[in-house]
């Protein structure tokens, strides 16, 4: 029997009022797997992440973490169950220091033991966090803030990491840094669901990528499909 997926969405539907934004979406992320979610603007990618985090309630289907249903759970309970979100636009607390931002991430830990080790381990992965520890987070550059947002999510020790367009608005060199960090997260065995606009790079990098359009899943792509731009463009325009 195949192992239970770490994160599983089964026929999930989300509505904003009468408008159906996500329709019968099903996807799985196994332990240590990086799964991409790409698609044009308005495809329902961010809404999918919000539904997983309990920010918007799905009107149908189920969301499971390690086999346990997360439907109806509040955002803080989803975070404490082991899912961490790096939100679009980073949403760091600009008036708090870098270290205070990092320590806020500890709120999502299931066990307080090991908190200091988690902070140190993450600071090792992101030298910028260690270097600017006492500086207000708002004084960091966009790329540095993105690293802080990922670091803040990681100190919670999540089983699943959700990233909402982490490369948005970053210089190409910083985008490389973000993808390098994702590689290290993969090596640490954390499951990742990555929402991205950089379609080709995501398909090449992720173990598997779902292409969404108009709230529905249209294609499942593997790294081998990264060069098949015609197929992707056709799905985007469909």
């Amino acid at each position: 029997m195949a192992p239970e997926p770490m994160l599983e969405l089964r026929d999930v539907g989300v509505r904003y009022g009468p408008v159906s934004v996500v329709r019968r979406l099903s996807l799985e992320v196994a332990k240590g797997e990086i799964v991409g979610l790409i698609g044009p603007n308005g495809a329902g990618k961010s809404t999918t992440l919000h539904a997983i985090m309990g920010l918007v309630p799905p009107h149908e289907g189920d969301i499971r973490l390690g086999g346990r249903s997360m439907r109806g759970a509040s955002p803080e309970n989803v975070a404490r169950a082991g899912i961490a979100l790096v939100p679009e636009g980073r949403r760091i607390f600009s008036q708090l220091t870098v270290e205070e931002n990092l320590r806020l991430g500890l709120a999502g830990r299931r066990d307080r033991a090991g908190s200091e080790e988690a902070v140190e381990s993450v600071a090792e992965l992101f030298p910028v966090v260690r270097e600017f520890r006492r500086r207000p987070a708002g004084a960091l550059s966009g790329g540095q803030q993105q690293q802080l947002a990922i670091a803040r999510a990681l100190v919670a020790g999540p089983d699943v990491l959700l990233l909402d367009e982490p490369s948005l608005g970053l210089a190409p060199r910083m985008v490389d840094v973000v993808f390098e960090v994702l590689g290290e997260i993969r090596r640490r065995g954390i499951s990742v669901l990555l929402v991205e606009q950089r379609a080709q790079r995501t398909v090449a990098f992720a173990d598997r990528t779902y292409l969404m359009a108009n709230g529905e899943q249209r294609l499942t792509l593997t790294p081998a499909d990264a060069s098949d731009t015609e197929r992707m463009v056709a799905a985007y325009l469909s």
Binding site: M53, L55, S74, P75, E76, A79, R80, A84, L85, P87, R91, F93, S94, Q95, L96, E100, R103, L104, G105, L106, A107, G108, R109, G138, R152, A153, A156
Partner: protein, 310 residues
């Protein structure tokens, strides 16, 4: 210099300043109590004065029952904290996603409800108003460097300074304080990180209840006959002070509370005894001037775009 300004300057003797600082300290404490809850709930709690009133009635009834003063004060704290937590659980929590207008109107309703409950309890002995004698000894004056200072003024200033220092330490040095600051800036993101909304809001409400207890003791010393309208006028003035200071940040709201209390004390000292009826008019004229010149708040940083509410 105009006559009015000359009067104000002439009134700035040590006695007036000390009294004004005392009044400012009480109003600053009330501003903190209101500002803490506003920070995490976006709720302007008009019923805060009635929580203070409940504490004052507790002091009056325990005093009449000859309870030891320490026990009466402890019970007063118990009542203000319990009532604050009860209001949060029964009223504010179900309305957490309501619009600010709905929440504000609800706190008006709660204020009038509590006032009428107090009236029902109070008229049992066919008189309105209950004397609270147990803490009256704090009304005695001591002479410090030739200035008569009432003990309650010293208590108010020391309590305000100690509580504000303790609050600053709590907000900057503890886990719950950090979570409160984050929640006050961006509650949604804080919750996404695992910060429990009920814990943070409950803690802010609990702190505001403790502060209401301190204010109840100080105001009861100053106004020993406790009536249903107790602390109502003070709440209105403090709410105005909080807006004048800048409600978006706890420290500007607190300074606003202190400033309006201090200004009230100074103007009260400047007005001739037969003209004190004009005190509210003078204070609110000043408020209108400040809001015209600094609509974002008297103490709000210039050009600030983002806000830190705690």
């Amino acid at each position: 210099m105009s006559g009015a300004a000359t009067d104000v300057v002439a009134a700035l003797d040590a006695q007036t300043i000390v009294d004004a600082v005392g009044l400012g300290s009480v109003y600053a404490l009330m501003a903190v109590g209101i500002g803490l809850v506003f920070g995490v709930l976006r709720l302007i709690n008009f019923a805060y004065g009635q929580v203070v009133m409940a504490g004052a009635y507790t002091l009056a009834f325990t005093s009449q029952a000859d309870w030891p003063t320490w026990l009466g004060v402890a019970t007063c704290f118990g009542v203000t904290v319990a009532l604050s937590l009860l209001l949060e659980r029964l009223v504010f929590r179900p309305l957490r996603t309501a619009t600010p207008v709905v929440m504000l109107v609800t706190t008006f309703a709660v204020a009038f409800l509590l006032q009428n409950v107090a009236l029902l309890v109070d008229v049992n002995d066919d008189t309105i108003g209950e004397p609270a004698a147990s803490v009256a000894s704090l009304n005695q004056a001591v002479t410090v460097w030739g200035v008569d200072v009432r003990k309650v003024t010293i208590v108010a200033v020391v309590a305000a300074a100690a509580l504000l220092a303790a609050l600053a330490l709590l907000l900057t040095r503890t886990r719950i304080g950090l979570q409160m600051r984050a929640a006050a800036t961006d509650f949604r993101t804080a919750r996404l990180l695992g910060v429990r909304a009920n814990t943070v809001i409950g803690f802010a409400v609990l702190l505001s209840g403790v502060i209401a207890g301190v204010v109840a003791v100080i105001l009861t010393v100053q106004i020993p006959l406790v009536q249903p309208s107790f602390a109502l006028n003070e709440t209105i003035v403090v709410l105005v002070g909080v807006v004048v200071g800048g409600i978006d940040r706890l420290w500007t709201a607190t300074l606003g509370g202190f400033a309006i209390g201090f200004a009230t004390g100074v103007i009260n000292g400047a007005l001739p005894t037969d003209k004190t009826v004009f005190l509210p008019s003078a204070v609110f004229t000043l408020v209108i001037l400040v809001l015209l010149l600094r609509p974002a708040g008297l103490f709000a940083p210039r050009g600030a775009t983002s806000v830190e509410r705690v």
